[in-house]
Subunit: 465 residues, 2 copies
């Protein structure tokens, strides 16, 4: 009784002091619907990736090409199942979002909020996918072999950056009368080879550890770094009207220190990693320390304004030499199998093939520029094979072809160029077309260049059966 009264008094005295609880934010209120959207989108991505890769495999194409095409089919170009708001698209353009809206009786404002949140989540999952892909590729690459082709890779990378950059910029200015800054930007967009796509195809062809494969991957890593530096320089050039020398030096130094430093310190990281793994007794004793290292390196790569995938690749290279490596190889596989398709399908889904439509008058200027950029992109990388010296029997065509795909890095250029207002729409569209075509052409070309028209021996594939 006494307790009762005291409490009643207490409650009464507190009640007016307490503000009403905060109303939920939009995010909290629609959290279950965002989760539904993410789950549905992942289901669509997984089904598309499996159908695409299986069809590609049966047609004797690399599975990754099938995943890209499947992405194009479910994406903005056709089915509108997996789309993103960046291109000015709204939730009403998405079949999945329309279904969710009907199912949950949502207002137009609410479904837009859900669409943005779920797109954000899928984008980050795709980025984690390419980070895990590069980590796995790093684990599969042999550092000693990569060191052996180091100089060759540097030469190939430098040729592959310089030729398309100069030819592209000069051509755009001379033939198409594009102003200097957008021309330089578009030229820069031609520089960076996509490590992800090339490495996946090389791995599928069983050529990742061949001399050609190692030179391609090494050069792709280096020209990624060079490409990012070029991007940073050109973007700051566009912002300020002049090149910021300090920033250029900072970027060059940090990229060099980062990659070479992590490779040199690899032995120390390895010993620490092995020691930690041996001491842990609970579930995830290998995979969690590996992911802590990979994600932290990816963060570092991002933090010093390079790329997250560069850090993940370096982490994989380093752990490649650790004692727990074989176990790690097995553990990373199912995780990569789940995450990596999200990346490839969304790259395809974001590519709007509608800009290729020649019946729309505005597309025609873009189409001619696109044809020019694709030609420069292909020829500018093909010549890199002849930069290799002192390796008489080397397959120069294979190296040149291996450097062609631009993929995600090219898309980063197109995105930043359009966001900062540097690129006109025809130029932006041309860069996207260049990225799509080089990405789509490279895998079959690479097969031909390596002379593999019969059934491939695929060490990665065979272990998953």
């Amino acid at each position: 009784m006494f307790l009762n009264d005291t409490l009643a008094l207490w409650s009464a005295s507190i009640a007016p002091v307490m503000p009403p609880p905060l109303l939920a934010t939009v995010a909290a209120e629609y959290a279950p619907i965002v989760l539904s959207g993410v789950l549905l989108t992942l289901v669509a991505i997984f089904i598309a990736s499996k159908i695409g890769s299986e069809v590609a495999k049966r047609l004797d194409f690399p599975p990754v090409l099938g995943e890209l095409v499947a992405g194009v089919i479910v994406g903005i170009s056709a089915l509108h199942l997996v789309i993103f708001p960046e291109g000015g698209l709204a939730a009403t353009d998405s079949l999945l979002m329309n279904a969710l809206q009907l199912l949950n009786n949502l207002s137009p404002t609410a479904i837009e909020a859900v669409f943005e949140s779920q797109s954000e989540v899928i984008s980050v999952l795709a980025e984690l996918g390419v980070i895990i892909l590069l980590f796995e590729i790093g684990l599969e690459s042999d550092l000693r072999q990569l060191k052996a082709v180091g100089i060759q890779a540097v030469v190939v990378a430098c040729v592959g950056v310089a030729v398309p950059f100069i030819a592209g910029t000069a051509g755009l200015m001379a033939i198409f009368h594009v102003a200097a800054i957008p021309a330089i930007f578009a030229g820069a967009a031609l520089t960076a080879t996509s490590i992800g796509i090339t490495s996946k195809v090389l791995s599928e062809l069983g050529q990742l550890k061949s001399t050609e494969g190692q030179i391609i991957v090494g050069a792709a890593v280096i020209d990624d770094v060079l490409g990012i530096i070029v991007l940073a320089v050109v973007a700051s050039l566009a912002k300020t009207g002049e090149i910021d020398i300090a920033n250029v030096i900072y970027l060059i130094v940090s990229a060099t220190v980062f990659l070479i430093g992590s490779i040199l310190l690899g032995g120390i990281f390895n010993q620490a990693f092995t020691a930690i793994v041996e001491k842990l007794e609970t579930r995830g004793n290998v995979i969690i320390p590996a992911f802590v290292f990979a994600f932290f390196m990816a963060f570092l790569g991002n933090a010093i304004h390079l790329e997250a995938i560069l850090g993940a690749f370096a982490a994989g290279l380093v752990l490649d030499e650790s004692d727990a490596r074989n176990e790690l190889d097995e553990l990373i596989k199912p995780i990569a199998d789940v995450f990596v398709p999200i990346f490839f399908v969304t790259v395809g889904a974001r590519a709007d093939l509608g800009v290729l439509n020649p019946t729309v008058p505005e597309n025609r200027a873009g189409l001619l520029i696109a044809v020019f950029l694709v030609a420069v992109a292909v020829v500018g990388k093909l010549v890199t094979g002849w930069g290799v010296f002192g390796k008489p029997g080397i397959n120069r065509w294979a190296i040149g072809v291996g450097m062609i795909p631009r993929g995600e890095v090219g898309l980063v250029f197109a995105g930043i160029g359009s966001a900062s207002g540097i690129l006109s729409k025809p130029l932006q569209v041309s860069i996207i077309i260049m990225v799509i075509l080089t990405t789509f052409l490279a895998p079959p070309f690479l097969r031909v260049a390596f002379g593999q028209t019969d059934k491939t021996i695929d060490p990665v594939e065979s272990t998953s059966d």
Copy 2:
């Protein structure tokens, strides 16, 4: 020359028609920083989970308890490394966000946008974590054995829902003079056992397949369903002032049809799954179809306004009987090892132990209510063991203790109650305290109830070495 001029003309004629490219949305502009935030948060979560689980293991506690405590330490209660905006927290409260802001020279508005995006992503990753956890638990559960304890589980679940609900609601109204609707809501928050935490602990104790373990998991599944129905009813009661009978019936019917239906149709799903897996030749041939099924079932669970985890659990139960099951068991492990700690650490991180501080006057009324709710929560579930009939040798204490932890479902109640404005702050805080204490107390109590004070035999643990 002709081509040149034509193109120049084209460009000139198109240029004024083309609008300047859209400026990037906040999301696109800060995408690399959101990724950095997600990577850093994941690194913090992974390190915390490993330290927590290893310390717990060495102190002979279940690792999952260590992950929860580690979550509390890195979360809102202490280190502020992993926090979420729901509690009215801003980016400036987060150490990681402050570091990111310094590193990238961001404006206060920009860092808030980054904070919200990365919190959204981490929240969804945590939800995917509990979905994958329940899928794995479903895979580990034996459906035939669960069917054998079906009636027992139903009785235990009904007792475990009715006793705390009635005692809690009546006590709050009689002793603490709480109004009817908030009292009913708080009473309802006492009903649903956390399958996740209990199953993890049971699995760690090697008791998941014992009769007691199967009754507990079965009852937890059923009282989760019952709890969600109660939540839906109470929430609609609070909104409209009256119980929507049609909705109640809809929820009861859909939940029953969903679970029993998926179990009955299990054979058909299994054959389809096995047939698909056998036909696929590319990487991910087992794990991707399994995830398509699990995520789609989770979506269905969410779509019919039950819970995603219920669908994932049902999917696991169904695939448990498929031919590819052993392979799937192995493949799901590293994925669960990566995702599940995100869930447990964030549950801990969201729990604000600061509301326990008795030196703050406002907390005192809440503390007494909390003591009452904890007592009802513990006693109301302890008695459920005596609902089991016809099993003479059964460990009734173990069943009662196994039903105690409320975990994520209780937190859902607290969240919705505070979002809808039904719960006063002391009540809301009391529910959170009840959730924390029941969650923290259950694992050691469960060990004692099962009489395992010596080293446990852990089938899950031993396979990861």
